[in-house]
């Protein structure tokens, strides 16, 4: 079998997978009846619907000819992984090191995701943004953000 549209083929699989997973997960809860719908009633039906829709997308991807095969093109692997890692890392570091240390690390790390990275610029940007975030969120909006590692003075 030949894949006519790469994008739709994988979207279809994704929808089928997600739909089946939700429907299967719903079997752990009480289904109830139409007159007394339980917690599983709605998600089970939706999961089946999603799997069905995924099946349609998949079927079209295998039968309908699409110009150029609807290919993915180049995956932006570096921006993808670096951005996600920088954000998750910030979440981990913020409660441990505080805003003043975690924020410059986030800014510098996320700047690495672009292909025009310059050290000097990234450092200045990190300093400016950290100061701005502190002024806006901690000082201005009085949000309870940890500023320093716990145990440090304030």
């Amino acid at each position: 079998m030949k894949i006519k549209s790469q994008k739709d083929f994988w979207s279809g699989l994704l929808f089928i997978g997600a739909g089946t997973a939700f429907a299967w997960g719903a079997t752990h809860y009480r289904f109830g009846s139409s007159a007394q719908p339980g917690p599983a009633y709605f998600p089970f039906g939706l999961g089946l619907l999603l799997a069905l829709l995924g099946g349609i997308v998949l079927f079209k991807a295998l039968t309908l000819e699409v110009e150029g095969g609807d290919r993915f093109g180049r995956w932006a692997l570096r921006p993808w992984l670096v951005t996600v890692a920088a954000v998750a890392g910030f979440g981990w570091l913020l409660p441990r090191l505080g805003l003043i240390i975690a924020m410059p690390m986030l800014v510098a790390a996320s700047a690495l995701a672009g292909d025009e990275f310059r050290w000097q610029e990234a450092l200045i940007n990190a300093a400016v943004l950290t100061l701005a975030c502190w002024a806006i969120f901690a000082l201005g909006l009085k949000l309870a953000l940890p500023l320093w590692p716990p145990g440090w003075g304030g």
Partner: protein, 503 residues
């Protein structure tokens, strides 16, 4: 007169120093993000949600609303001057606006966009005032069956907005509805899809989804594209005032755009984006006056029409949100979220239970539009300079603000992790050609839809026929079915593809 009384109340609320300040902050920020390509109102409003915890509901919503319609003004500046839409709804403005700029007529194009938007904004506000009370009265007759059908209509309508495959857009809605099922079931108290994670018992935060997909996902997608070459027509912005000829041609287009936008904004799935595309199509269809340049070659109608329409649409899309509690687009979905954060249950009761909020918000829109004209036309030089900020400095800032917003949602790292996860998924959706906006709408409506479905079934003793035997509900479902049929028609299908090609 009840209406005048209400409006007076609204202006009284909107004209307090605090609310004026927040309206100004909103439209200023809206213009800013409208001008900057790669940052849209959805991500911005999501970013700002944590900051509204410390605000009252009225100033908070006034500010968030200002961001949405302010972005419509700012987006046109970028479209006209650098041929890159600052905002998705300015895609069509770029076609004729950029041509005008190349001919040294950037000034009149900007003026037409600004003044047209102002006119449309004023009309849009009046439309809200006129239509909100009767719609609210209608909504009070809705039972759970009607609400369920209305949400079906709203979600189907949202599909019209998505570009590309219809089936995929519907699948994204269903996926959104399912993600909304990760919560504690309100009726039985059972925690669903929690994997034993305590933070998931209240559900996934919609801010995490919005920021992940529209904030981080967008950044990754933008970085994946080759750096665009920008040609900025900053020096050619002189002589803002349009000629007499320009005025004569532009004002009928403004009227048409405003009418179309006001109408399409109210429809489920409508809003700024749909309105501007429709208005451009309409202007293109009209016969050219003798001596007029065709559309696409720098015709002022191609700027005035869509720009009026997107602002009118942005304005009137508040109607379903304010009266029925049903968000017609992703921005309104966030507004619903903001109201919930402030402890206000969106729905028809808002008008009577929170009249200051309701009428104050509406009055502030008119004030905000007036501020926007002043902000955008005389200060245009300032905004133009902003376009010189390179994206490599901008995106770490967006990431930083999103991260802080996520953390402060519940002062825990969990929402930051969720944001990162949805950023990962967001880029995957981008690559798979799956539109994320329907997902967000589905997610917001999911719990409401389930509750109404189950209540309707309880009331009818398990008879699904209740959705078609009640006339209002049947009408709403019929309209949804009609929408599907209309969109599937081959002629409309090809047009839809053309309309979304610019994106």
């Amino acid at each position: 007169m009840d209406l005048l009384h209400h409006l007076a109340l609204g202006f009284e609320v909107a004209f307090t120093a605090q609310n004026l300040a927040y309206a100004f902050a909103g439209v200023l920020l809206g213009t800013l993000i409208g001008v900057l390509p790669g940052l849209g109102p959805v991500a911005t409003i999501a970013m700002l949600l944590p900051s509204i915890y410390s605000l009252d509901a009225t100033p908070a919503l006034i500010m968030l609303a200002g961001i949405y319609y302010g972005a419509q003004y700012g987006g046109s500046t970028t479209a006209i001057l650098i041929n890159v839409p600052g905002e998705a709804s300015s895609v069509v403005t770029a076609i004729d606006g950029y041509q005008m700029a190349r001919q040294g007529r950037a000034g009149p194009a900007l003026a037409a966009a600004g003044l047209g938007s102002f006119f449309a904004g004023c009309v849009g506000t009046v439309v809200i005032v006129a239509f909100a009370p009767p719609l609210t009265a209608l909504a009070f007759q809705f039972g759970p069956a009607e609400y369920f059908s209305l949400m079906v209509l709203g979600l189907i309508g949202a599909v019209v907005l998505a570009s590309g495959s219809l089936v995929k857009a519907v699948a994204m809605i269903v996926l959104g509805l399912l993600l909304g099922q990760v919560n504690t079931d309100v009726i039985s108290g059972v925690q669903r899809y929690g994997f034993g994670i305590a933070e998931l018992s209240d559900g996934i935060s919609f801010v995490a989804i919005a920021m992940g997909v529209f904030g981080f996902g967008e950044i990754i997608a933008n970085l994946g594209r080759p750096a665009e070459h920008r040609e900025v027509f900053t020096k050619s912005v002189r002589g803002l005032w349009p000629t007499k000829d320009d005025f004569r041609r532009a004002w009928p287009a403004v009227l048409r755009g405003t009418g179309l936008g006001s109408l399409l904004g109210v429809l489920p799935g409508g809003g700024a984006l749909l309105s501007s595309f429709a208005a451009y199509t309409l202007e293109k269809k009209l016969r050219l006056a003798p001596g007029e340049v065709p559309l696409g070659a720098g015709n002022i109608r191609g700027v005035a029409g869509p720009e009026s329409a997107n602002n009118a649409g942005a304005q009137t899309s508040f109607i379903p949100m304010l009266t029925l509690g049903i968000p017609p687009n992703a921005v309104m979905a966030l507004m619903v979220g903001a109201m919930t954060i402030k402890g206000i249950q969106p729905g028809p009761q808002v008008m009577t239970s929170n009249p200051e909020l309701f009428w104050g918000l509406i009055a502030s829109m008119w004030i905000g539009n007036a501020m926007l004209v002043l902000l955008n036309l005389p200060l245009i030089g300032l905004w133009v300079r902003l376009l010189a900020v390179p994206y490599r400095l901008l995106f770490p800032a967006i990431a930083a603000f999103c991260c802080i917003g996520l953390y402060t949602l519940s002062n825990s790292a969990f929402d930051v992790y969720m944001g990162a996860l949805f950023g990962f998924v967001g880029y995957l959706f981008h690559k798979l050609g799956c539109e994320p906006a329907p997902l967000l709408l589905g997610f917001i409506l999911g719990p409401m839809m389930e509750e109404n479905l189950r209540r309707a079934l309880l009331l009818s003793r398990g008879d699904w026929g209740t959705f078609v035997s009640r006339p209002l509900s049947a009408g709403l479902l019929g309209a949804a079915a009609l929408l599907v049929v209309v969109v599937m028609l081959p002629s409309i299908r090809s047009k839809r593809q053309v309309a979304f090609q610019g994106e």
